[in-house]
Each structure stands twice: as structure tokens, then as C-alpha cells.
Amino acid sequence: MIRLTDVRKAFNQGRENEFWALKGIDLSVEAGKVTVFRGPSGSGKTTLLTLVGCLARPTSGRVRLKDRDISGLPERFLTDIRRSTFGFVFQQFNLLKGITAIENVMIPAYPLGIDRTELSRRAHALLERLDIAPKARSNAEWLSGGEAQRVAIARALINDPEVVIADEPTANLDSERSKQFLDIVETLKESGKTVLMTSHDPLVCETAVVDRVVSLRDGQLVERGG
């Protein structure tokens, strides 16, 4: 469903510290599968994730989403695609402090103009599904790591995206919580979602739920089937 052709991404272009994070990536991601990008830090796996997830535009090359070329789209339209197609779970969870868990879950839906009551019903259902409903009214900064992650997952799912993207999801969790996370991934896969993750955690890369592991080094692919 996502196809990258000779994708490159530069930072600080034209300046002395110019740096190419990705140097020609050809990759396709299948729908309904769980794919993991693996590589040492600085290998470009997070940059790759941002390009696939429409968070950024490639400097050159093509990104096609369901046969639509989205590499030349301005941010305004990328955002449109992003919020309906992708849900993000960040490494630091990135919840907004000072507001409740449920408000955090609803934030991505605000610009869509969905009715408040409908929205809050949906958010509650998600928190229920992730076994965190009792914490709905707690402020985000009072949640433990595992709870915060589940709220973050609920937030990623609020707009019912086809693809869930998780950046180093287990980096801040102990083994027990990591396993719980992988269980959630499994249920997501069962419900037909495509899951993309970056990780260098062997626990993640070697579980059965992962269909494919893509290895990166120095902005290039070192592919191994999974």
C-alpha cells in the first residue's frame, strides 16, 4: 500500500553541515502486515518513518500511497492524508501535560470538526478497549509509562487510521510492559491495521506477530526477510 522509489532526504541543504539522512531507498510496505525498521541510531530509520507517515516530504524520490503520488504534496494536503490514514505512537509518548487523558485522546480529531459528544464517546470506547478507562480523567503527567503509552495508542486510533506507526515503542518500557504492548499490536493486526515500527529491541524484532524486519544502515537498506 505504500511504495517508496529512490527516496532521499537531506537536512541543512546547501549549507556546510549538509547531511543526507536517507540515500536512495526503494521499499514497499504491504497492507495488513507488521513491519519493523531496525538499525543503529543515526541509520535513518526514524527519518524513513516520518516520510512513510507523511510527517515530512522527501528531498527527492517518490512516495506513493495506494497508487497516489504524495511526494510533491504541500504540508496542508499531507496533513489531510496523515490524519485520516496514519496514527502515531511516539517514543516519549508526547502527551500534552495539564489536560486529562481523554482530552489527549481527542486532540487529533479536533480539526475535523466532529461533534463533541460523539468524539468523547469514541474516545471512551478506545480507552475501554485498552483497559485504561479508569484513568480517563487523570491528567497526563500522573500516568505511569505503560498507562501513558496506552493513552498514546488510543490517541493514535481516534481517527480510525489504516496504518499505526510506532517509534521505538518499547524503549521506555520493562519486558512485562513490552509484552503487553506486543499483545496490543497483535489485536491491531487482527483488526486489519497495518503496523510500522522502528526498534532495535530483539524482543520486538523476534516476536511472531512481526511479518517483516527491514534493516537500515547509513541511510541505506540492508534487507533481510522476516
Binding site: 532526504k9 537531506a10 541543512n12 541543504q13 546547501g14 516530504r57 522527501p58 528531498t59 527527492s60 511526494s71 510533491g72 504534496l73 504541500p74 504540508e75 496542508r76 494536503f77
Partner: protein, 348 residues
């Protein structure tokens, strides 16, 4: 110059607005030269980000232009006590040769800014920003207009001198000719109302056509602007007279005053909005041919046309109501019938 808070505020607003837009000119030039939607280079990304600033600034400038238009007229009316012979805003604006040009330029600036925002709105609906060069080219034209409006306004205010008591002798004979609004009215009231009704009928007929076929937006825009002029003429020649109930008082500004319940706002606001939306429709029409806008542009076009027609209808209703409730009878045949006849002619 007369040192007065409202004047200072107006000068501040128009100069700031003009300079803000002028500050975007170098960027406009670089858009015209380097814009390339397909590129993902950092320069292109920077330019795309900058466009958000420009559209936000223009929205602020438009709001300021509209507000300062109101403030300008309001203040002109209030200042009339300072000048011998000035009875209301007309007299104040006639104090020197820059008064009316300043008003007209302000109106032009308002319409230009609203046209630009319409263009901007359209452009941002096309995934490849198809109108970006047109838009920034237009900014190169808009900027001098804003600067001119600010400059003429400055000249107008600088040229104002209050007729105050001089210590040497009385100012009695410095000028006792009254500047009234009588000569503003060049048209017979019946003719003016008729022309306005006719123009409105054309607007509605063309508007129906656009709604039905999605074509004729440019013609609609032209008709809307003509109707705007005709409506202003009708306000001067007839409607204001009905409000004042004095056959020879033709002032287009006094109807804004509290003495007449500020009815002027109920007339002018729909009128200006209607004309601005009509103009926007004219901008939408050619955009319908652009590939990336084939879906959005016709939708926006229809919306503009519908809203413009609704605003004109509101204006017509307010006008008809003013005539109807007036105690003054200007013509044998009741003009309200003429208006209603014309309106219904275009709107089944």
C-alpha cells in the same frame, strides 16, 4: 493636521497594513522566480511555510481595512463640527481635494484585499497550489494600492485645518458657504431606484444561471459590481432621503448615525459583503478549468454566488423596508412596488 485620536488610529492602521504587505514583496518575487511544487528542497519547504504568514497577514490587513473604512466615515462625520459650513461627513471630506479619493481608495483596498483572500482560498484547495504565481503577482499590485490608500489618507489628514477663532479677528468671513450633500445626487430618485432594481434583477438572473450550469461567474461578478455602484447611487439619490424624510438631504453617511438608528450599517454591510463575494465568484470561474481545482473551484463558485445573492437580497429587503416605513412620498407610483417587481423578476 488635526491632532485627534481617531485620525492617529487611522494613520497607524493604514500605514502598518501597507508596510506589512510591502515587507512581503521580496518574498513574492522569490515565489515568482523559484516556486516549484514538485521539489522537496528545503528552499521550497521554507517558501511553503512562508505562505502561511502572508495569508494570515492579509487576513489581518483585510479586517483592518474594513474596520478603518467604518472608522474613517464615522470620524469624518464627527469632525464636521470643526469646519465652517460642514454639516456632516460630506462636508468634512470636501475640506480638501484628498477626502473623497481617500474614501474611494480605501474601498478599493478593501475589495482588492478580499479578492486576494478569495484567490488564496482557492489556491489552497488545489494540491499543487496552482494559483500561487497569480497570487503573488497580485500581491505586487495590491501593495502599491495599499500604499496609495495610506498616502492619500495621510495627505487628506495633513491638509485639514480646523476653522478656529483667530486672535486677530473673527473668522466670520473666512467661508460661510455651506457644503451640503445636495449636489451629490445627480439622479432622479425614481430612476436611481429603477436602475438599482434592474441591476439586482440581472444579478439574480445571472446568479441562477451560475447555480444551474456552473458557468457565467465572470458575468456575475461584473453584474454584482455594477449593482454595487447602482445601489450606492440609489442610497444617495433615494434611500437616504426616505430615511431622513427630507427631500433635499442626500447624504450617504448620515444614515450611519445614531439619530437614524445606525440603519446605514444594515444597508452597507450586506452591500459590501455581496459585492466582495460577487468579485470572488468572478475569480473562481476561470479557476474551474485548472485540473487540481475541477472539484473545489465550482463548489466555491456556487457558494460565493449563493452567498452574494443572499446578501443582495438582504440589502434589498432592508432598502424596501426603509422605503415602506418612511413617511415621505417621493413619487406617485410607490417605489417599493418597483423594487419588489424587479426583485421578483429575477428570483422565481
Amino acid at each position: 493636521m488635526i491632532f485627534q485620536p481617531a485620525i492617529i488610529a487611522l494613520l497607524l492602521a493604514s500605514l502598518t497594513g501597507a508596510l506589512l504587505v510591502a515587507g512581503q514583496l521580496p518574498f513574492s518575487v522569490s515565489v515568482l522566480r523559484h516556486w516549484n511544487t514538485a521539489s522537496g528542497s528545503e528552499r521550497q519547504l521554507e517558501m511553503e511555510k512562508r505562505t502561511y504568514l502572508v495569508s494570515t497577514l492579509l487576513a489581518v490587513v483585510l479586517a483592518a481595512e474594513l474596520a478603518s473604512l467604518v472608522l474613517f466615515v464615522f470620524n469624518a462625520d464627527r469632525m464636521s463640527t470643526l469646519f465652517v459650513g460642514a454639516m456632516c461627513a460630506v462636508g468634512t471630506l470636501n475640506v480638501n481635494e484628498f477626502g473623497f479619493p481617500s474614501l474611494y481608495l480605501k474601498m478599493a483596498a478593501f475589495f482588492a484585499a478580499s479578492g486576494w483572500l478569495a484567490l488564496n482560498h482557492l489556491d489552497s484547495r488545489g494540491h499543487d497550489y496552482p494559483l500561487v504565481r497569480v497570487k503573488y503577482g497580485a500581491l505586487l499590485v495590491l501593495c502599491p494600492l495599499l500604499l496609495a490608500a495610506a498616502g492619500v489618507q495621510l495627505a487628506y489628514f495633513l491638509g485639514l485645518r480646523a476653522d478656529v477663532i483667530a486672535s486677530c479677528c473673527s473668522t466670520l468671513f473666512s467661508g460661510n458657504t455651506q457644503v451640503t450633500s445636495d449636489r451629490l445626487a445627480t439622479l432622479d430618485p425614481a430612476v436611481a431606484l429603477g436602475v438599482m432594481g434592474g441591476a439586482m434583477a440581472v444579478v439574480f438572473a445571472l446568479g441562477r444561471r451560475v447555480q444551474a450550469t456552473g458557468r457565467g461567474g465572470v458575468a456575475f461578478a461584473a453584474a454584482a459590481l455594477l449593482a454595487f455602484v447602482a445601489a450606492l447611487e440609489a442610497v444617495v439619490a433615494a434611500l437616504s432621503v426616505y430615511v431622513y424624510e427630507m427631500p433635499h438631504h442626500h447624504c450617504p453617511f448620515c444614515i450611519l448615525k445614531g439619530e437614524y438608528g445606525h440603519v446605514g450599517y444594515a444597508l452597507y454591510l450586506p452591500l459590501f459583503i455581496a459585492a466582495a463575494l460577487g468579485l470572488a465568484a468572478g475569480i473562481c470561474q476561470p479557476a474551474c478549468r485548472i485540473a487540481s481545482l475541477t472539484e473545489a473551484a465550482p463548489r466555491i463558485l456556487r457558494r460565493c454566488v449563493t452567498a452574494s445573492m443572499a446578501s443582495y437580497a438582504l440589502f434589498g429587503l432592508v432598502a424596501a423596508w426603509l422605503v415602506w416605513r418612511s413617511h415621505l412620498i417621493l413619487m406617485e407610483e410607490s417605489p417599493i412596488n418597483a423594487i419588489l417587481l424587479n426583485l421578483s423578476g429575477g428570483q422565481p
